[in-house]
């Protein structure tokens, strides 16, 4: 045995290494058997017991026996629980999620205000996306199987789907919901969709559902007779669109003088169109023009002041229009914008010749004070170089340009961006962008050339975006993907949702918000009027207000409904399918169906109609509402009190809307309405004896009424109930 001992050095080393080895092994066993989630579960257990005990005490003090038993049982059960790994297994999705191991309160309503990980999941969302059917990672991403914080949140290197931060979480809605507009909880991704469309991103980036859209920007084939100094203008705009118009919607391409010159040379070399005739403006006055400009609602969309925004950046600011275009072109444009550019969003305004000329005379006085950049001598540039640049920068994505009719921009396809792994994104030389898809996107939108390198010159231009728009766009682009989940999970858009989607685009494209209130946001033109009834009607809920057929007819051929307005619904030249899409979209937005209206409400027997007629007269509806066809605006009435003609009601309004509106006008169309609350107070107390019966009778009557109910000769009708006074709305306090 003595010979086993070795040297003292060996024995000392052994004396150190041997316990060290034992300790390391023990530590390894300890670490592997004490996972961090066990501590969290223990913490949660204490927290839960604490909370239940408090509830139990409350129940005891209130002597609520059922509650006491309930909380006692919960507490006893809790006391018995041991830490266990929780796991959701959804075979259909091939999902194994252990998130609830730590996020224990997901379905527990007692923890709504607690910090993560012990917070209740928003209940409304969870109700529609049950845990047992959806799991966690299909919406949130992350690594469902992992049981450490870093691992489960997918932050380890190379995990393809790290947990989406809540700021970008809505991107996942679009994985299943083909159309997100109108979905509660998907506002950001819907806004992103609107920005994507309204911002013209679709000009270059092809995503599903945009191939039917017209070019975003005006054609460049006919510039020479439109612009008064085409060469300088094109040169200036190509270099920096904001130099020509500070509010220009065109994004910044950051071209050099040389490049801008070449592009100008190319566009100037295109074959010339027939010259526009010059117009004689001597007979009209610009002052009249300015008045007409305001009266006819031009300012609903356009602005004539530098720095004052129009309804959308896409609508030209007219501050310098007199320097930009020729009078002859303006005249031709106003006469029929679609004749010049079939895809234009500008509608045709009904104007007489002198009116139009007056507006032209006014607009040509709006001149710029400092001159444009002088274009260099274009003859020294080869137009073919310009053509190459146009091809390179893909100007034809937004503009129609002769020679590029069949070209499609060669840009990254975003339609599968959701599935693009982050290592396929080129972060180039940047060191300050975190290596995530959303941070990459955000920087790309804020500074599209940030990922330029010596070898790769990027060409995406810089658009003006607010922070919120940037975030919404990031969310939208993160969500671009064909549905990958089983068909049972995806919510394909039906005709109604598709119509809603297209309608949202049309509303932005055609600048309906210029004159109409929408999404609770006042019409752009409303800022110029103090009197609210001078602004065209709100589009919020309009689908539920108007009968589909009526809206359809109106869109195709607008008729005057509010004769006191100076503005008129212009002619947008909708095709029948377009009108149908709009009507369907409006109906979907208002959650009603087309073409059906609730005829049961309109069907009524004679006694009820008679009752309705009497109530109609009794409540003096006609005091504000004209009830004769073609009735003039009544004189001597407060202009604010003039309201809509009720004669076309039966083909115009939906009876169920009339019923609701009579009961709760302010709740239905907002606090600004001057419609008095006749039947109920604001808190829902009936003001008359049988409000619902009266409402039904009046509704039925209005759906059958042909003309003003003639007063029974000489006789004042009996009030509907004893002691009720006749009403007079002329002294009503609003």
């Amino acid at each position: 045995m003595r010979m086993m001992r070795g040297t003292p050095g060996m024995r000392w080393t052994f004396a150190i290494l041997s316990p060290l080895f034992l300790l390391t092994v023990a530590y390894a066993v300890y670490v592997e058997s004490n996972r961090p989630w066990q501590d969290l579960q223990e913490q949660f257990k204490q927290l839960y017991i604490e909370r239940v005990t408090k509830l139990l005490q409350e129940a005891e003090s209130q002597k609520a026996a059922t509650e006491q038993t309930r909380w006692k049982r919960v507490r006893d059960e809790l006391a018995r629980t041991q830490p266990t790994l929780a796991q959701l297994y959804i075979e259909e999705l091939k999902v194994v999620d252990r998130c609830t191991t730590c996020h224990q309160a997901v379905e527990n309503p007692l923890f709504e205000k607690d910090p993560h990980p012990f917070r209740t999941h928003p209940a409304a969302l969870l109700k529609q996306h049950e845990l047992n059917r959806f799991g966690c990672t299909p919406c949130h991403d992350g690594q469902g199987l992992a049981t450490t914080v870093e691992g489960a949140h997918g932050r380890s290197a190379n995990w393809p789907t790290p947990l989406l931060p809540s700021a970008y979480l809505q991107a996942t809605c679009a994985r299943c919901h083909e159309v997100t507009q109108g979905l509660a909880g998907a506002e950001l991704v819907s806004k992103g969709d609107d920005v994507f469309m309204a911002g013209g991103c679709y000009g270059c980036h092809d995503v599903p559902g945009v191939s039917y859209l017209p070019k975003y920007s005006p054609p460049l084939s006919v510039l020479k007779t439109k612009l008064s100094d085409p060469a300088s203008y094109i040169f200036t705009v190509a270099k920096d669109p904001t130099r020509a118009n500070p509010d220009a919607a065109m994004p910044q391409f950051s071209l050099t003088d040389e490049e801008a010159g070449k592009i100008a040379a190319f566009l100037m070399s295109l074959p010339s169109e027939p010259a526009t005739e010059s117009v004689d403006l001597s007979a009209v006055s610009a002052t009249d023009g300015e008045r007409l400009y305001k009266e006819r609602g031009c300012r609903g969309c356009h602005s004539v002041k530098v720095g004052e925004a129009g309804v959308s950046p896409r609508v030209p600011n007219l501050a310098f229009i007199g320097s930009k275009v020729t009078a002859g072109w303006l005249d031709r444009w106003l006469k029929d914008p679609k004749a010049y550019n079939a895809d234009t969003a500008m509608p045709r305004i009904e104007l007489t010749d002198p009116e139009r000329l007056a507006i032209v005379a006014y607009l040509v006085t709006l001149k710029r004070t400092e001159p444009l950049d002088k274009a260099p001598d274009l003859s020294r540039f080869d137009p073919n170089d310009g053509k190459t640049l146009v091809k390179n920068y893909e100007c034809f994505g937004c503009h129609a340009i002769p020679g590029f009719e069949q070209s499609r921009p060669a840009v990254p396809d975003l339609s599968e961006f959701a599935r693009k792994p982050v290592d396929e994104l080129d972060f180039a030389n940047t060191t300050d962008v975190p290596r995530t898809k959303w941070d990459w996107l955000r920087r790309k939108l804020v500074d599209p050339r940030a990922y330029n390198t010596d070898r790769i010159a990027l060409k995406m231009p810089r658009s003006k975006l607010t922070d919120e728009e940037t975030q919404a766009l990031v969310v939208r682009v993160l969500g671009f993907a064909k549905p990958a989940l089983p068909a049972r999970y995806t919510v394909a858009a039906g005709t109604d949702r598709r119509a809603l989607h297209t309608m949202r685009w049309m509303i932005d494209h055609l600048n309906c918000r210029g004159c109409h209130k929408l999404d609770g946001k006042a019409a752009h033109v409303a800022q110029f009027y103090e009197r609210k009834n001078m602004v065209p009607p709100s589009l919020d809920g309009v689908g539920g207000r108007l009968q589909g057929q009526y809206t359809y007819n109106f869109l195709l051929k607008p008729q005057q409904v509010r004769p006191w307005l100076t503005m008129r619904m212009p002619t947008f030249g909708f095709s029948e399918p377009q009108a149908q899409t709009l009507v369907d979209g409006l109906a979907t937005a208002a959650r009603v169906s087309n073409p059906y209206t609730a005829t049961a409400l309109a069907a009524a027997d004679q006694p009820r109609l008679e009752k309705g007629r009497r109530r109609f007269r009794h409540y003096k509806c006609a005091q504000c509402h004209p009830t004769k066809a073609d009735a003039p605006i009544p004189e001597g009435v407060d202009p604010d009190d003039v309201s809509i003609n009720l004669v076309p009601t039966k083909t115009r309004l939906r009876p169920e809307w009339i019923k609701d509106f009579l009961a709760k006008p302010k709740e239905l169309v907002g606090p600004d309405t001057r419609m008095p609350t006749v039947f109920y107070t604001v808190d829902g107390t009936p003001k008359v004896d049988h409000p619902d019966e009266d409402i039904l009778a009046i509704t039925a009557y209005m759906m059958n009424m042909a003309d003003m109910p003639e007063p029974a000769a000489g006789a004042e009708e009996a009030p509907p109930s004893a002691g009720e006074k006749a009403v007079d709305w002329s002294n009503m306090q609003y």
Partner: protein
């Protein structure tokens, strides 16, 4: 009890077994002295491995995708040294020539080192040349593996561990080669001098080995040292090839 004294006693014991093994006064038995040390080394390595496995998780590499080449694409760690050689040599030399030489070199060791005097003795003194040269080659191999495994990033670019990997295209290094009329004499001189000079300097070496073993050993050693020399030439003087011929370049 004096351990030092014990050792002496042990070594000086006139036991038959000790004498038959030809123990000298400074020698000690394999058991327990060497075995104990080996056991301690095993213990230490076990501890290091345990701590390492506790501290660092197994890396998760990108999802396998036949449509995508990973960057950097690294061989299993034991082949990374070979991969690292690809930086400095043409593929067939780095991938075929050098490994073959290594295998052949290792395989012929029993035929080259026929000394019996050190059999059963685990000591550096008796085999200074053999052990030091083997350790030099072995060390070179580990250095190459360590560089390839830990210090190479995307596009096989060099990064220190504290630098972040960026997927920049490598800057084209301006390399130059020896013209053949320089390269040929240099290579000839290297081998000529490398074979002749030790023979004069350490006559005993030549005498012990005999001409055929001497030339075989020296050729293999010179080939081995040619590898770090070439690497240093490349790193310090940006030399691409030392010798360019119509058939091969080295």
């Amino acid at each position: 009890m004096d351990p030092g004294g014990e050792e002496r006693t042990h070594a000086a014991a006139p036991a038959a077994a000790s004498q038959s093994a030809g123990l000298r006064s400074t020698d000690v038995e394999v058991f327990p002295y060497l075995v104990f040390k080996e056991f301690l080394a095993a213990l230490l390595v076990s501890i290091i491995l345990l701590v390492w496995s506790l501290a660092i998780d197994a890396p998760l590499l990108p999802e396998a995708d036949p449509g995508k080449t990973e960057n950097p694409a690294k061989a299993p760690w034991y082949f990374v040294g070979l991969q690292e050689l690809l930086v400095y040599f043409d593929p067939w030399i780095a991938g075929v020539g050098i490994p073959t030489l290594i295998i052949v070199g290792l395989a012929v060791i029993p035929y080259l080192d026929t000394t019996r005097s050190a059999t059963g003795l685990y000591t550096f003194q008796r085999r200074r040349l053999a052990i030091s040269q083997f350790m030099a080659g072995f060390g070179l191999w580990w250095v190459l593996i360590a560089v390839g495994q830990f210090l190479r990033g995307p596009n096989w670019q060099f990064f220190w561990p504290w630098e972040t990997w960026t997927a920049l295209a490598p800057e084209e290094e301006a390399l130059w080669s020896f013209p053949w009329w320089v390269g040929l004499p240099v290579v000839c001189a290297y081998f000529g001098l490398g074979l002749a000079w030790p023979r004069r300097r350490w006559r005993i070496l030549y005498e012990r080995l005999g001409p055929s073993r001497y030339y075989a050993v020296m050729t293999l050693m010179l080939l081995m040292y040619a590898i770090p020399i070439k690497i240093l030439l490349r790193l310090m003087f940006h030399v691409r090839y030392v010798l360019m011929t119509p058939w091969f370049n080295i």
